[in-house]
């Protein structure tokens, strides 16, 4: 009991194989890797790259512009995860819009936003629905309860994303992927397994020190064997089939669409939108939100950072125009963003 951490550390420290690039796809993994100081104990030939799995980081400025527009032009009460509050839009973030009078309420979950709408019938409540496979079912649960209770003042501004197309795009960016445990808890392991036949190796893992180190140790061992592999190192949470009820509710309310990822560009079929029959809950349709592309600072290299093409310190804005207190790009906003993590932890 409890010695997985030590055993895994031993394996990692003893690694004397070739240079290996591992990408942690999930932002929460990035956060934990920095918090635990995992990079500090890795042998020099093991490189960890932070991938695009932070919904805040890949959400473009256009989405923030839409939310700010809804708040300031339509007087909507914006309910959001705390993560999004400081993300820069083209002009304003939600935080700076709040200073101009926008109503921005931080909630713990989408159902809490629906409850808020029920308690405030005189407000038009818009929930900012972001996140990957793990988070999307929660938006759908909120939508279902809003629909069932006949809520008329609740809608979603949807920018949910899915990982499979992104994995394919990132294929060459790393030798091994640390897959996000909680995405697979919902979506299952099918996609990751099928990637093995395309030569993509990976381990799905959890978020404790023991789980993360175990996944890295397994990766190093298996890499030496030379064959592509997939290992579920998180079976206490991740089942092969995922969570079918969660998949079903998402399928009922949402369908796939193309989606713009900050830094990665448009990835066909990588986004989610509400199905037409739920237009009454779609904030874009309900308020006729005009199309917004959003503008980013052209010098910002968040996109390259997200694909592992450059390190945060290689960006000309890093630590100068762009700091956690005054972020230019999204990677500096979220505590789990690669730039913020580099800055905070003085990497």
């Amino acid at each position: 009991m409890g010695n997985a951490k030590e055993k895994a550390l031993e394996i990692i420290r003893a690694y004397d194989g070739p240079h290996i690039r591992m990408m942690e796809v999930c932002g929460t993994h990035t956060h934990e890797l920095f918090r635990l100081g995992v990079r500090k104990i890795l042998p020099p030939q093991v490189e960890l790259i932070s991938g695009p799995g932070c919904p805040v980081c890949v959400t473009g400025p256009g989405f923030i512009d839409e939310a700010v527009w809804l708040a300031l032009e339509k007087g909507a009460a914006i309910c959001t995860f705390g993560d999004l509050v400081r993300v820069p839009g083209s002009e304003d973030s939600l935080a700076s819009a709040r200073a101009k009078g926008a109503k921005v309420k931080v909630v713990y979950s989408p159902p809490d936003a629906a409850d808020y709408a029920a308690d405030h019938p005189d407000e038009e409540v818009v929930f900012l629905s972001v996140g990957f496979e793990t988070t999307t079912p929660s938006s759908c649960v909120a939508l279902k309860s809003a629909q069932e209770s006949g809520l008329k003042n609740f809608s979603l501004l949807v920018s949910n994303k899915t990982m499979p197309q992104a994995y394919k795009m990132l294929k060459g960016s790393a030798d091994i992927f640390l897959y996000p445990g909680h995405v697979n808890a919902i979506a299952g392991n099918e996609v990751c397994k099928s990637l093995v036949s395309q030569g993509v190796s990976g381990v799905v893992t959890g978020f404790t020190a023991a789980e993360i180190l175990t996944a890295i140790a397994i990766s190093l061992k298996k890499y030496g064997e030379g064959k592509p592999f997939f290992v579920n190192a998180y079976p206490r949470v991740v089942k092969d089939e995922g969570n079918p009820q969660a998949q079903a509710i998402v399928d009922k309310y949402m369908e796939a669409c193309d989606s713009e990822w900050r830094g990665l560009g448009l990835i066909p079929g990588s986004g989610m939108k509400l199905r037409d029959e739920y237009a009454a809950f779609d904030a874009r349709k309900k308020f006729q939100v005009p199309p917004m592309k959003g503008r980013t600072n052209p010098a910002c290299r968040c996109g390259d950072v997200l694909q592992g093409r450059c390190r945060p310190v290689d960006c000309p804005l890093f630590g100068k125009a762009c700091t956690p207190l005054k972020p230019v790009g999204a990677c500096m906003v979220s505590g789990e963003g690669a730039c913020s993590a580099y800055y905070q932890y003085n990497e």
Partner: protein, 334 residues
């Protein structure tokens, strides 16, 4: 008397006098409480510490205290951290029109009770009433004078490599309590504010030794913010052992749910102390013998490398920087 505060209570006339007599004088009963324009105080020779602090807290009543208790603790603790015995306080109230008189009395009673506990006298005060919506219920500002005790000389600039870092109890309870009391996230936990006056605790440490380099009270920015301030002021590095930082279970649970760092949650009754390594155990012992610091612990040490930084020794034995706070605490899902 009305059961709510009205603008007339702040107009300086008969009703103002009534409010002062019935609420403030009734509670703050001591010979020095002034009826004149200023209190007259007899001072001893030596050095005085003098400080002021404004208090805004929503909600004003919370498990473990209220804004009145808080306003006394804050100023008493600021004085105590300088090795000064708190002597006299003044308090200024800005009250929102319509505030319940019974609540005001409850706040005044808490102030007097806390002041008595800390051995300090409230000697002067002021009351203003602001129109509905111009302030959030009530704001209190307290100002205090204390006598710096013989041989005490502490400052955030005095931390030295080799010093041990002590906290006087489990961290983050006040911030956590307020977060729960606002009921924005629908979370319940058995957490009460750590709000407490700490002069007796400082006194107990002084009975061990006067040679204490730094004493700070961790307030709104939490212990993490205080540590960064000291690391910068003293130009030293601070290395913490994450496993030894005391955090109550309920606080851990709330932080886990919302993705918050306990080191950045507010405390209102916790001291951060830097002292020579060979005195640290005795200081912790002395603190553990006092009310409100039973869970005191050594959480780290001062280093000469990485001046200005707070370093964490993590559970896997690596060292990493404590991330700096970036303004308001926001719960995260990722």
């Amino acid at each position: 008397m009305n059961d709510r505060v009205t603008l007339a209570h702040g107009a300086g006339g008969r009703q103002t006098a009534e409010l002062i007599d019935k609420v403030f004088k009734a509670h703050f009963s001591n010979p020095q409480f002034t009826s004149d324009d200023a209190a007259v105080l007899q001072m001893q020779s030596g050095k005085l510490a003098f400080t002021t602090d404004g208090f805004i807290v929503s909600p004003p009543f919370f498990p473990g205290g209220n804004i009145g208790k808080l306003s006394i603790c804050g100023t008493v603790n600021d004085l105590s951290c300088m090795g000064a015995k708190p002597l006299y306080l003044s308090c200024a109230f800005v009250i929102e029109e319509g505030f319940e008189m019974a609540k005001l009395e409850e706040i005044a009673a808490a102030m007097e009770e806390t002041a008595a506990k800390a051995g300090v006298r409230i000697v002067a005060g002021d009351t203003k009433v602001a129109g509905k919506g111009q302030v959030d219920q009530l704001f209190i500002t307290t100002t205090g004078i204390g006598q710096i005790q013989e041989g005490m000389d502490t400052s955030g600039a005095y931390a030295k490599p080799g010093d041990k870092v002590i906290v006087s109890g489990d961290i983050g309870r006040h911030g956590c309590t307020i977060l729960l009391a606002r009921d924005e996230f629908g979370i319940d936990a058995d957490v009460t504010s750590d709000c407490a006056p700490l002069w007796a605790n400082v006194k107990a440490m002084m009975d061990v030794t006067n040679d204490i380099h730094v004493i700070r009270d961790a307030t709104r920015g939490g212990v993490g913010t205080v540590l960064y301030e000291i690391a910068e002021q003293s130009q030293v590095g601070i290395r913490l052992d994450t496993q030894s930082i005391p955090v109550q279970d309920g606080v851990k649970g709330v932080c886990g749910m919302l993705g918050l760092e306990p080191l950045y949650l507010a405390c209102e009754g916790r001291l951060v102390i830097f002292a020579l390594a060979d005195k640290a155990d005795a200081l912790v012992e002395a603190l553990r013998g006092c009310e409100n610091s039973e869970n005191a612990a050594i959480i780290g040490e001062v280093t000469s490398d990485l001046p200005g930084h707070v370093i964490l020794r993590t559970e896997i034995g690596a060292q990493t920087m404590l991330s700096r706070p970036t303004g308001e605490l926001l719960p995260r899902i990722c």
